[in-house]
Symmetry: C2
Subunit: 204 residues, 2 copies
DNA sequence: ACTATAAACGGACTTTACCCCGCTTAGTGT
DNA sequence: ACACTAAGCGGGGTAAAGTCCGTTTATAGT
């Protein structure tokens, strides 16, 4: 009976129509965002645009913020793969300090690009903005540990550095203040700041 | 005609009934928060409780988040005074590094105490959570400058350290993870982390 | 006191996130 | 093929944020 083994990433138990509708909804969301910005994304609007019922939208994503989280997760997964198994210094192989720096250098542009969506994914009922944080936090923790940070400070510093990296783009920058990211490779104040921070913190 | 010169802090131009109603509403808000938590604060509920119309609530505070911002500002002003003109090392007089450390030591408990309200003051339509940030950011910037940080890194680091200090309590800690703050003076991981961060950053 | 006026008030109205529950359908075992 | 069942679907219903505009009222100038 040609039972396909893991036809897509979805871990067994999601029906084919459900998966199709999810894709349809995400595409609709991307279209609305591109055309009119995140603030114009409404549950009813998405449902109509995708030719589905409103209830379906909620079943798939749980909440409005959930839609943006799902959009982020898509790109987030790719980012995560580069961190976990890509080439150094972002991936494994380089020494911890260089990996920390590299992580920030890649993460800041990533967040700048996803700024609007990431902000829309913040939800007062959920503590962490996205799956985003759940990747950054353990990764930083591991690297900081390897870099020889005193264990007594590890927990507090992990949380603070996570906030230092992701917080600015969640909390302290408005949409208008996010300029086009300059030419790739050009210096960005947040990247510079991060490098300086890490090197002073664990390099000395 | 007994025109009182600045009878209260309100800087001329706010009518007496407006001021009275503002107080009434803030009191109602504090009561609801104490009884049922921030999530149960609704604009209609507040209006009814204060015996006013809903339009008035919006006129006074602009938005739901605005109410929480107003509540914070009250305490924030007191905090600010201690920073600007209180005794060192929090106030002026000590050297910049000690003032930075002291700022974190006082700020973390402050934010822990106001955690629920501070989170409720976050609003996706407004970039910074409260007047909170507008105090922390320039203050840190000044101290970091005095502490001899290279000007090239000053802007980026200011934003990041602000996020490092305030971000954890906005974004990365859920309500359940905020324990009663231990006895005053007892060590807190975030305070320790902050001290370590600052000393490494500008002390070395 | 009286009037003018700008601010404040109130509550109906609109929009939108989110809930609910009866109906439909894809997947599975025979 | 067929029936069975759990998952998915739809859209009407609720509650709460935010807007609007006609009415009321505090204050200043005379």
């Amino acid at each position: 009976m040609t039972t396909p083994l893991v036809p897509f990433g979805k871990s067994r138990g999601e029906r084919a129509d459900a998966a199709r509708n999810r894709e349809r909804l995400l595409e609709a969301a991307r279209a609305v965002i591109a055309e009119q910005g995140t603030s114009q994304v409404t549950m009813d609007g998405l449902a109509e645009r995708a030719g589905l019922g409103k209830g379906t939208v909620f079943r798939r994503f749980g909440s409005r913020a959930g839609i943006f989280r799902a959009l982020l997760d898509d790109d987030e997964r790719r980012f995560q793969e580069r961190v976990l198994s890509g080439p150094p210094p972002l991936g494994p192989g380089a020494d911890p300090v260089r990996r920390l720096v590299a992580y920030g250098c890649e993460r800041v542009p990533f967040l700048l690009e996803h700024h609007a969506i990431a902000r829309a994914a913040v939800d007062r009922s959920h503590p962490t903005p996205a799956g985003a944080a759940s990747m950054t936090q353990p990764h930083l923790r591991m690297l900081l540990g390897l870099a020889g940070l005193p264990p007594a400070h590890l927990d507090g510093l992990t949380v603070q550095l996570t906030a230092a990296l992701e917080g600015p783009l969640m909390l302290y920058l408005s949409a208008e203040e996010v300029p086009e990211l300059p030419e790739p490779g050009a210096p960005h104040p947040l990247v510079d700041g991060w490098r300086f921070l890490v090197e002073r913190l664990v390099g000395g």
